[in-house]
């Protein structure tokens, strides 16, 4: 076997030597010729322009054709975008790194993200081997500026004592390669992404990564898992070995709060299978601990048929509920993909891990009702719907409506707007 490989290598060398000798004389790659009239430029992007941190850059070339990398053809090539860098050596393949972005698929535009400050941008065309043409087809080098204020988003406030933590999972724990990770919150409520709420947010699980920038959207990739529907647990698959886990709450726009609600970064050891000793002691006061939650279909949604957000309504109004992709069942009836409605009046959503409280602010529709005649004092009120299972525990992920605001007035929708 070994001898065979050696023989093969020798054969390859024998074939390769004449070529190596030929190219060694120049020490440079063969460059493809280009017509002198070719022009390469940015589209709609001027020198010294002010640009947002995230922008789409478009490229225009005249006199040559754009082909994906690897396809050799006369008068053709693909784009490269040089960010904050000088031209590379023109007789070598263009490097591939953060400063030299290849568009080997034949793309003619790209979305790039820049940090605040001044940056230079330049286009360089290259042939099928990523080597610039002769003469090089290169655009003007332009400078753009990302204003420092552009990246600043008003961050949602979090209550001072708010915290987020792993449930039954401690630093240094050993977990199987497929493990259920559960998240708890305290002093802040879990609301789905897209739902604006005071002191609310949704979980992000950071796997094997540092904290991202706290003044912008949390990235969404394999290292930053979003739980935008308000999920409080995940079945996580990790390869065996050491990993780090960290929880970070994001607001309705996935931006961390101010101050950020973040858990300590814990280290876990993942073992292939068998002996796992989850160093765990269930914390009785932890939100979301203990009770098993009923699963809900991914596309389930609960919503108000009447009223709508911002409506003016009569003091006694019938609130009508809609439910998509699930069914209604009275409390006590255990049937998959069903639940019963709860109308939350002037209150934050309760903890999803426990039965919904029953009081004047949490109206249970345990008989399977799909509407409710509600009497409210005049003024502004908030309404929200939350479906729960036979034990009054919200599903996982919770099936919860937007929190709407209504204005109760004696004349209802016909009341005069006060000036």
């Amino acid at each position: 076997m070994l001898r065979l490989t050696q023989a093969f290598l020798l054969a390859v060398l024998a074939v390769a030597i004449p070529f190596a000798e030929a190219s060694a004389q120049e020490r440079a790659r063969q460059r493809s010729p280009a017509p002198a009239t070719t022009r390469l430029s940015f589209v709609g992007l001027a020198d010294k322009a002010q640009v947002p941190a995230k922008l789409t850059v478009r490229f225009a070339i005249s006199g040559m054709e754009v082909l994906p990398a690897g396809q050799a053809a006369r008068n053709a090539g693909h784009h490269h975008l040089l960010i904050d860098t000088e031209l590379p050596p023109l007789d070598q393949p263009i490097p591939s790194d953060f400063n030299h972005i290849h568009f080997g698929g034949g793309q003619t535009e790209a979305e790039i993200a820049l940090t605040p400050g001044r940056h230079t941008l330049q286009l360089l065309f290259a042939d099928h081997n990523h080597v610039p043409h002769d003469p090089p087809i290169v655009s003007e080098r332009i400078t753009v500026e990302v204003p420092a204020t552009a990246a600043e988003k008003p961050r949602s406030a979090a209550a001072p004592g708010a915290r987020v933590f792993f449930i039954d999972l401690q630093d240094g724990a050993t977990i199987p390669s497929r493990a259920k990770i559960r998240f708890g919150t305290e002093g802040i409520t879990v609301t789905p992404a897209g739902t604006t709420s005071a002191n609310g947010g949704h979980h992000h699980l950071l796997v094997d990564t540092e904290l991202p920038a706290l003044d912008r959207e949390i990235p969404s990739d394999f290292n930053h898992l979003h739980f935008g529907r308000g999920q409080t647990e995940v079945e996580l698959s990790l390869p065996p070995g050491e990993h780090t886990l960290q929880l970070l709450l994001g607001d309705h726009e996935h931006v961390p709060h101010d101050p950020p609600v973040v858990s300590p970064r814990i280290r876990v050891r993942v073992v292939a299978d068998g002996q796992t000793a989850v160093a765990a002691s269930p914390s009785p006061h932890a939100h979301g601990a203990g009770r098993a939650r009923t699963a809900s279909p991914n596309d389930a949604a609960v919503y108000f048929v009447y009223p709508r957000d911002g409506d003016r309504i009569y003091p006694t109004s019938t609130i009508r509920f809609g439910l998509r992709n699930m069914g209604v069942a009275p409390a006590g009836v255990a049937k998959p993909n069903t639940g019963h409605h709860h109308l939350l009046v002037d209150t934050e959503p309760p903890s999803f891990g426990e039965p919904i409280p029953a009081d004047l602010n949490h109206i249970h529709l345990g008989g399977g009702q799909t509407e409710y005649k509600l009497t409210l004092p005049n003024g502004r009120h908030t309404l929200q719907l939350l479906l729960a299972d036979e034990n009054h525990v919200p599903h996982d992920p919770p099936v919860i409506s937007e929190r709407i605001t209504v204005i109760v007035a004696p004349g209802g929708p016909h009341a005069r707007r006060r000036r």
Binding site: V305, G322, G327, V328, A329, P330, G368, Q369, T370
Partner: protein, 148 residues
């Protein structure tokens, strides 16, 4: 159209058959669940006379009662049936299950239907755990929609 005619014919036969067997059926009919006074089933969407696309969501409202999946015997509950281009059958018999009588047996309160272009009638009828209408039947008025 042909299939509709066929279904209508089948419905007619069923009706005739039922009339023939009426005395026996009445004797065998299980006791019907009482409907609370004031109970009412109605359409949130569509409403009578509306023009709708071929594929639309029927949203169902229920007043004075609750929804429970089929098979769940709870007082003051039932599950929805959407009757398309058909009349309700005898009130003491289970609601048939076919293309014209859509059962929402999991407690659904809305259903997406696809109908051919033209005029169609829709009607809602609540059934108890055995798919039998309540006494008196909790039934919406029959509405007509124009599918365009």
């Amino acid at each position: 159209m042909i299939s509709q005619a066929r279904i209508a014919a089948a419905g007619l036969f069923a009706l005739m058959a039922w009339q023939g067997a009426a005395p026996e059926a009445a004797a065998q009919a299980p006791t019907r669940q009482p409907a609370p006074p004031g109970a009412q089933v109605y359409f949130h969407y569509p409403i009578d006379g509306l023009s709708v696309p071929e594929r639309f969501t029927v949203r169902i409202g229920l007043r004075g009662m609750g929804v429970a999946p089929a098979g769940i015997n709870h007082a003051r509950t039932g599950h929805h049936h959407l009757l398309i281009d058909t009349d309700p059958g005898p009130p003491d018999q289970p609601i048939p299950s076919d293309y014209n009588n859509i059962h929402l047996g999991n407690g659904q309160t809305e259903v997406v239907v696809t109908l051919p272009k033209g005029r169609h009638t829709l009607q809602l009828l609540l059934g108890d755990h055995m798919h039998i209408p309540h006494n008196p039947p909790v039934m919406s008025p029959k509405i007509t929609v124009n599918v365009r």
